[in-house]
Structure formats: structure tokens, C-alpha cells
């Protein structure tokens, strides 16, 4: 893990995944998915290496959110295979699904905090139920993670007392508490007021610096450019173009990507 100037990195609490450095944490092969007649993913091949930060961009309806939701089994796909941190995704087996989901952290556009539980309990629920983590250990870890996202003092607050940006940071801490091998971020700043976007992105950025593997669907091109190791442009259910941020944003090859990028400036 690279040393970081970020002071918050001193209490880094990420747990190393099973996957070796330089090996793929997520391995997607020939993945196809349809909603009824409509095919939304038309054969996706994608490897995400350990420690890599991948940004997925594209128009709405290009299939990028669906792809993300396939990776932790929220959507069922018809063809292809998907392996996360050595665990294949098997829809038929509830046990295998739960194994896999323990390795995948998901952050949603609409936060989806549990409104009836305090911030601390939101973070502690899954480790207690799924990982059977002991109470003291669980609480210590939750406090540590909340501190990590800058919300140590909100442990006993209820979600509806927090701003959108704070709620999203709690959601990040909640996902981290399961020690995921990869974090999926589905347009996590789209529901936020503009002035709250920064605080969430800073947390994500610091995770990236600490070596967390990230796959994020985003509309924040500036952020993608700054943080991502690789950018993937999706168009009509396919990976249309991919490359380094410099290549994608600086020298787009396909007319579709050029059109997409220029539409952002309008």
C-alpha cells in the first residue's frame, strides 16, 4: 500500500482482499442481460485489478448502472460469468450470493440508509448479523470507520438528522464495515446538492489512495479524470471505448465518445 500525505490515512482500516496485487478482483466475461425483450448488456468483458480505480461513463440507458448492479447480484444476468475476489456469482445459490456480497460494497445514489436505525447501528448491522462480529469489536470498528469518513460524533444520530452528504458518507462507512474487496459506486453524488458533492468525493478519493479497488459509475468527469486509473465509456450495452483518463478525455477515438463528451459542455 502506498504511503499517503492524507492525514486520515493514519487510521487506515481497510482489510486486504484475498486477491493478489495485480490480479483481477472483478472478472466479467461475455456478460449479457435483458429486461424482457430489451437487451441492455450485450456481451461485457471487463477485469478490474486489485487496487485499480475504474470509472464508468456514458449516457443514461447505456447500461452502466445495470452492469454495476449485476456485479453484486441485484440484477440477474442471462449469459456470461462473473467472479469477484475468487467467488463466482451463482444466482441459484442464496449462500453463494451472500458469500459474494460480503466481498462487494455497494454505494447507492439514494444512500439507502436504514431510517429506523441510528448511524452506528446502520454500520454495525451487517457485521453483527452476517459476520457474527462481537459487540465490542463491532462497535470499535464502526466508530473507527465513522471517524474515517469524518462523522465520529454522529454515532448516535438518526439518518434523517444528517445532510445528504453526511448520509452518503455513513453509507460508505457501512459498506466498508463488511471489509469488501471492491466497492461499487452508483452515481453516488447525483442526489446531492452541489455544495455537498465535494465532501463525499474526498472520502472516495482517499479510499482510492489507500488502495481500495473501486468501480464507479459517475457523471463527475473532473473527478473521474483525477482519480481513475482507467475510464470505460459504455454505449448501447457495450464497452465502447476504454483507456487512461488522458486518452479518453484527451484523445477520444470513436465518434460516439466525442459526441458524448461534447454534449457535457453544452
Amino acid at each position: 500500500m502506498s504511503a499517503s500525505a492524507d492525514p486520515s490515512a493514519t487510521n487506515a482500516v481497510l482489510v486486504a482482499p484475498h486477491t493478489e496485487i495485480g490480479a483481477p478482483v472483478v472478472r466479467i466475461t461475455a456478460l449479457r442481460k435483458s429486461f424482457g425483450e430489451l437487451e441492455v448488456l450485450k456481451g461485457i468483458d471487463l477485469d478490474v485489478m486489485r487496487g485499480e480505480v475504474v470509472a464508468v461513463i456514458g449516457k443514461s440507458g447505456s447500461g452502466k448502472s445495470t452492469l454495476l448492479r449485476c456485479i453484486n447480484g441485484l440484477e440477474v444476468f442471462q449469459q456470461g460469468s462473473l467472479v469477484v475476489d475468487g467467488k463466482p456469482l451463482l444466482h441459484e445459490s442464496a449462500l453463494a450470493m451472500r458469500e459474494l456480497r460480503q466481498r462487494v460494497g455497494m454505494i447507492f445514489q439514494s444512500f439507502n440508509l436504514f431510517p429506523h436505525l441510528s448511524v452506528g447501528r446502520n454500520v454495525m448491522l451487517a457485521p453483527r448479523l452476517v459476520k457474527k462480529r462481537k459487540a465490542e469489536e463491532n462497535e470499535a470498528r464502526a466508530r473507527q470507520l465513522l471517524e474515517r469518513v469524518g462523522l465520529a460524533e454522529k454515532f448516535d444520530a438518526m439518518p434523517d438528522q444528517l445532510s445528504g452528504g453526511q448520509q452518503q458518507r455513513v453509507a460508505i462507512a457501512r459498506a466498508l464495515a463488511m471489509d469488501p474487496a471492491v466497492m461499487l459506486c452508483d452515481e453516488i453524488t447525483s442526489a446531492l446538492d452541489p455544495e455537498l458533492v465535494g465532501e463525499v468525493l474526498r472520502v472516495v478519493e482517499s479510499l482510492a489512495e489507500e488502495g481500495m479497488t473501486l468501480l464507479m459509475v459517475t457523471h463527475e468527469m473532473g473527478f473521474a479524470r483525477k482519480v481513475a486509473d482507467r475510464v470505460i465509456f459504455m454505449h448501447q450495452g457495450r464497452v465502447h471505448e476504454s483507456g487512461t483518463p488522458e486518452a479518453i478525455f484527451g484523445a477520444p477515438q470513436t465518434p460516439e465518445l466525442k459526441q458524448f463528451l461534447s454534449s457535457l459542455h453544452d
Binding site: N72, G73, L74, A94, R98, E99, R101, Q102, V104, G105, M106, F108, S110, N112, L113, F114, P115, H116, L125, A126, L129, V130, A171, R174, A175, M178
Partner: protein, 217 residues
């Protein structure tokens, strides 16, 4: 001929009203338990079970409770079991209540945003854990006012048990009206007793409903 004072009438009606309350509670608790089981089965996303339960609800909500009582009363007898009005009334009202409650509760579960299921599934919670730790606690909060409100329907529904000969408040009213020749007074008292039982429950359901809306703001 014996003279009946108003107190005689009232006292006898109140004694019979105990059975109205017992029958209501049995139906409400039994119906709640059956309704909860049906709800969980329904949420298990099994197509066949789902449409069976939808049919069950449709039948109990689309036919008269009186007919349901008759059917159980005569239906149990068909099996050669010597049935009492008490057993038939308890069973019929329990099934009737379960159909309504499971439907009310499903509406409450549906009102919990999909994102809550997705977030808890993403955290590797099992279906049972998603239900019991995340979805049901939220659904329960919105389910309380309509559930309390439905208790009024159950209490009123027990009056139909009089038709198959179960001696509760309404049946007792008929018997007393026959011997006193004071049907206006007796049925007036019967109505008043039902009102005394039901109106506070209605009021309470209303208060809960308003509280919930204030809390959501």
C-alpha cells in the same frame, strides 16, 4: 309476565358483550398470526404461492362474511365433525381477518422503498434478515394505525356470528327483545354498547394516523 328494568336489559347485554370481545380478540390475534404467515410466504417471491394467496384474499374480500360463516358452519359438519357455532365463528372470523390484515400489511411492506431491500441485500443479509431487521421494522410503523382501525371491522364482524346461533351481544339483544317486547330500547342499547367498544378504537387509530404523518414530516 316479568317486568324488566333498563338495568336488567343492560346487565344482560353487557354480560353477552364479553363474548363479543372474546370472539373479537380470538379473531384478531388468530387472524394476525395467519395473516403474518401469509405475508411472509407472499414476500418469498414464489409465483404460485403468491397467486394462491392473492386468490385467498380476493375470495374473502369479495364474498359476504355471513356466507363465510355459513360455509364453515355447514362445511365442518360435512366432515362428520360435530361443530359448535363458537368454533365455526372463531374459524371464519380468523380467516376473514387474516385475509384483510395480510393485504393491509403487504401494502405497508410495499411502501418501504425498494432501495432498503437492495441496500440490505448488498450487505449480504439473508432474506429473513432483510425482512426482520430492515423491512418489517419500517413497515410495522406505518402498519399500526390501519391495523388498529381494522379491529373495529372485526368487532362489528362478530355480530354476524349471531346468525349461526352464537350468543354474543347481537344475539342476546334479539333474545332480550323477544321477551321484553322492547325492541327499540334493546337494539338501541345494543348499538350503544358496540359504539362504546368501537368508537375509542376508531379515535385511537385516528390519533396514531395523525402522529405518524407528523413524524414523517
Amino acid at each position: 309476565m316479568v317486568d324488566f328494568t333498563l338495568w336488567d336489559i343492560l346487565r344482560n347485554l353487557l354480560l353477552a358483550a364479553r363474548w363479543t370481545i372474546v370472539l373479537s380478540l380470538v379473531a384478531f390475534v388468530g387472524g394476525g398470526a395467519v395473516g403474518l404467515v401469509l405475508l411472509v410466504v407472499r414476500l418469498g417471491r414464489n409465483r404460485i404461492a403468491e397467486s394462491l394467496i392473492a386468490g385467498y384474499v380476493q375470495v374473502f374480500q369479495g364474498t359476504p362474511l355471513l356466507m363465510q360463516l355459513f360455509l364453515l358452519y355447514f362445511g365442518i359438519a360435512l366432515f362428520g365433525i360435530d361443530t359448535s357455532p363458537w368454533v365455526a365463528a372463531c374459524l371464519a372470523l380468523t380467516l376473514y381477518t387474516s385475509a384483510y390484515l395480510t393485504e393491509i400489511w403487504r401494502g405497508c411492506v410495499d411502501a418501504v422503498p425498494r432501495g432498503q431491500w437492495e441496500a440490505s441485500a448488498s450487505l449480504a443479509l439473508s432474506f429473513g434478515q432483510q425482512l426482520s431487521h430492515v423491512v418489517l421494522p419500517q413497515a410495522l410503523k406505518i402498519a399500526v394505525p390501519p391495523t388498529v382501525g381494522f379491529l373495529v371491522q372485526v368487532v362489528k364482524g362478530t355480530a354476524l356470528a349471531s346468525v349461526i346461533g352464537f350468543v354474543e351481544l347481537t344475539k342476546a339483544g334479539g333474545m332480550i327483545a323477544n321477551v321484553t317486547y322492547e325492541p327499540l330500547l334493546v337494539y338501541g342499547c345494543v348499538a350503544l354498547i358496540y359504539f362504546t367498544i368501537c368508537f375509542p378504537i376508531s379515535l385511537y387509530a385516528g390519533v396514531l394516523e395523525r402522529k405518524l404523518h407528523v413524524g414523517q414530516r
